[in-house]
């Protein structure tokens, strides 16, 4: 059953999206999914990892302990070149259990569903304040700068204990860190700046602890459960993952809704928390902003979907196309805010499933649930063709979104 692959015949990944369908995965992914649950693809460095395209196989593999997220293992399919193998291991997202679980458990407490729910009034206030400012200012405005980026940035700063006054510094460096096309040296330097910054903050919390998450990590350093470099890297992971993702969902979600006026209308006319929560799940499924795929490497031979994955083979689990698998979601390419989309894999699956999902859900419910109701005349202030999409990003979205009302 040995697999011989002629690299010349293997499709390139990632492929381009169709010019007129900025919300849909690249057409090549649809074609691959139709052919079978997994196939070899060729990536930027010439290697040929497996691309897993179907929902069932993807969930099975992401929950399989024979599959590793350890970026330092040979065969791990990186999404972009790096300067050194261990240079940018951004904490537990790129580690396996038991190390992954040890670190993740230290930061789980503030993200429970009920704890996050207590922050809802504060987030509502932030959202209302930003909309007040927007409406008092000139129209058109860039929704990314005015709304989408500040909402999650303000919230994660408060949660971690990072001064929001530094937002330009950490937002600029985060952008470089998650751009696939960024120069490897440049990306390593941005990562080093963020680690240095978080290390300073952790140092301050050691001297003057507060109620925030970084202070809890400082406490663990004091008890010897955590090293200071571990704490700084965890801080970087939480800060970057905590604002870039949600910001892209707010802006791209708004654009998708503006392009689907009947769906936007549903949100404009409702304050039903159930409908809004369902809309958030469907937008997460439909847009799947983490479009680079989950990256893994097989630790043992695994038989699945009529193929044998060999120990050491790289795996890319393309969650964007899995969320469009017709076997899991009928009529998958239709944005339908009323469908039950909760089974989506936009937050991944298995032990690495998004830590911040209760926070992201609540932020998106407040943002989508308020913006269109308070600004019912919100419209795009340019043509769709002129919107700069983040084709080169680890996380998909729009660089800017000019809107008027």
């Amino acid at each position: 059953m040995t697999e011989t692959v002629n690299p010349a015949e293997v499709p390139q990944f990632p492929g381009a999206r169709a010019a007129r369908c900025p919300f849909d995965p690249p057409p090549a992914l649809h074609a691959l999914q139709e052919q079978g649950p997994l196939a070899k693809v060729k990536v930027w460095d010439g290697s040929t990892p497996w691309l897993v395209t179907r929902y069932e196989e993807q969930r099975a593999l992401l929950a399989d302990p024979r599959v590793s997220a350890d970026v330092t293992r040979p065969g791990y399919p990186r999404s972009a070149p790096v300067v050194s193998r261990n240079g940018s291991a951004i904490s537990f997202i790129l580690m396996d259990d038991p190390e992954h679980a040890r670190l993740r458990r230290m930061v789980q407490a503030p993200f429970t569903v009920r704890r996050i729910e207590t922050l809802r009034p504060a987030v509502q206030k932030i959202v209302d304040g930003l909309i007040d400012d927007m409406l008092a200012g000139p129209s058109p405005v860039d929704l990314v700068e005015a709304f989408a980026l500040p909402v999650p940035s303000l919230v994660i700063c408060e949660l971690l204990g990072v001064p929001y006054a530094d937002h330009e510094f950490f937002q600029d460096n985060s952008k470089i860190l998650i751009r696939r096309a960024a120069d490897p040296e440049e990306r390593a330097a941005a990562f080093a700046r963020l680690v240095g910054y978080l290390d300073d903050l952790v140092g301050q919390k050691l001297d003057h602890p507060g109620e925030d998450l970084l202070s809890r990590l400082a406490e663990r350093i004091r008890t010897g459960e955590l090293t200071r470099p571990e704490a700084a890297r965890m801080g970087v992971l939480l800060l970057v993952a905590g604002h870039e993702t949600t910001a892209n969902m707010i802006a791209l979600g708004t654009l998708a809704l503006l392009e689907h006026p009947d769906q936007l209308d549903l949100l404009r006319r409702t304050d039903d928390p159930k409908l809004i929560a369902g809309a958030v799940e469907e937008l997460l499924r439909y847009l799947n902003i983490t479009h680079s795929g989950r990256r893994r490497v097989a630790l043992e031979d695994i038989e699945i979907g009529g193929q044998v994955i060999r120990a050491g083979d790289g795996l890319i689990l393309a969650n964007d196309i899995a969320n469009r698998d017709p076997a899991a979601f009928p009529d998958p390419d239709r944005l339908d805010l009323r469908r039950d989309a909760r089974r989506h894999v936009a937050f991944g699956f298995g032990v690495h499933q998004c830590l911040g999902q209760p926070l992201a859900r609540m932020e998106l419910q407040v943002a989508y649930g308020t913006l269109y109701r308070r600004v019912p005349t919100l419209r795009l202030a340019t043509e769709l063709e002129r919107i700069p999409f983040k084709h080169d990003g680890q996380v998909y979205g729009v660089y800017e979104l000019p809107v008027a009302w």
Partner: protein, 64 residues
């Protein structure tokens, strides 16, 4: 219906609490799942099965 949870596997995703807050909760200190009601009433059966299906750590088992 009888529910069994595996706290060692749980990764505190909160999916079960979002699905059926009447049956599942999370520990304050580390977010790990807590079972509020191991034998929930029949009207919650569908939601409980959904919780088990979306649990990313396969930490929820439902016996009929």
């Amino acid at each position: 219906m009888k529910i069994v949870i595996d706290q060692d596997r749980c990764i505190a995703s909160g999916q079960c609490v979002s699905a059926v807050g009447e049956v599942f909760d999370q520990r304050d200190e580390d977010g790990v799942v807590v079972l509020l009601d191991p034998t929930p009433p029949a009207d919650l059966a569908v939601a409980v099965r959904q919780a088990a299906a979306v649990c990313p750590a396969r930490a929820i088992h439902v016996e009929e």
